[in-house]
Assembly symmetry: C2
Homo-oligomer: 227 residues x 2
């Protein structure tokens, strides 16, 4: 069946995101190096984040809370209050960064909009994602914005039902094999993977996908070959 709806992931697909998290994390690890080597701080933070996902979900506020929890734990309660204050400031600063579009994104949206219904399907913090969309000036290209609490098969199933299409009428484009591509392929949809140069540890998968509905391209501009 023909593709009717093209869904785009947002973070690291439409605009840069992960490098900002990594930069905040780098400053966090530096702050904590009196207690643990930086790479161990980073590992501890990831463990806290993964533990906290079921309670907090994804996104910047969750990240701030997990940094605070990690700082207290690895310092055994000896971290200074000034460091907690700095974590709040780092998070708030990150929320206020400008949005930097990935090269070619606007041309791709402009080319596809007349021929498909475009939707943005992203997980993370509701307010933060809406703010980034607004700053990006891309909102006008999308017929529908879906900010999802997670991107598992059940979540995409709900999206497909809500959009009132059959799974094979959906094409998902994103940088995460785990969150954007695999669940959609499993439901019978189509996926184009556009890798980004930084991937969060939690999103990494070792997978070679060989599937009739799957493509991998180097740059977002290359998706136009298939659409």
């Amino acid at each position: 069946m023909a593709i009717k709806i093209i869904a785009f992931d947002a973070d690291d697909t439409l605009w840069d995101n992960e490098p900002y998290f990594r930069e905040t994390e780098r400053k966090f690890c530096e702050m904590l190096e009196d207690f643990l080597p930086q790479h161990s701080v980073s590992r501890e933070l990831l463990q806290t984040e993964i533990k906290d996902i079921p309670l907090y979900g994804f996104g910047i506020k969750s990240f701030m809370l997990s940094m605070i929890e990690t700082a207290i734990r690895i310092s055994d309660g000896n971290i200074r209050i000034a460091a907690i204050e700095k974590i709040l400031r780092l998070g708030q600063e990150q929320m206020q960064l400008p949005v930097h579009l990935i090269d070619g994104v606007e041309d791709v949206l402009k080319a596809l909009q007349p021929r498909y219904r475009l939707v943005m399907a992203t997980k993370g913090d509701l307010v933060d994602q809406e703010r980034k969309l607004k700053k990006s000036s891309l909102a006008g290209y999308f017929h529908h914005i879906e900010i999802m609490s997670d991107k598992k098969e059940a979540d995409f199933k709900k999206l497909i039902d809500h959009l009132d299409i059959s799974p094979d009428e959906l094409m998902m484009i994103g940088n995460s094999l785990k969150s954007d591509i695999m669940p959609v392929l499993n439901l019978g949809g189509h996926g184009i993977h556009v890798p980004y140069h930084v991937t969060w540890e939690h999103e990494k998968v070792d997978a070679m996908i060989d599937h009739a509905h799957f493509r991998q391209v180097e740059s977002i501009k290359d998706v136009l070959q298939f659409l």
Copy 2:
């Protein structure tokens, strides 16, 4: 025109919510009373929350971050790390509380579902609201769930467009005049106000509404008189 869609607010309309925030806040104010009288702590917290809304949005994670920021500020950095740890614990505990439905809610939804499309329209934390909906076992009654970053006129306008109805085909039922009723009336929709016994300071308005599309009832069960 006849009502087609009935939208329900969730917190303090379908289930208890504000008392849990007030109980967490009470414990927070107790913790801080070495620095300020409890009622002043409460006022300082409200100020922080209002300042943080544009950055954080509404909901429990925002509340946790605002409590931490307030504790640091009013203690002039002298709050103990154990208190920060306790704020994290209080927030995490609040997230895990059972959901207590307001008396009559399920009967009302059962009676209305065959005759209208029911939607849930709530603001707050995405993950926390989805978790509460799941625990409530009410998800099956709703055709559509909208978790909004705010509930101003522009947000309801988007919802109305998205639902593909005209404003006067929408009836909103909720406990907040400011967030549930007034924006919907202003757009030309209908509203039934069902007051709750506790209201967050930030939601309080001094208003007597006299409007042909407006009703106020004492209990959610009373909405059936008008529908």
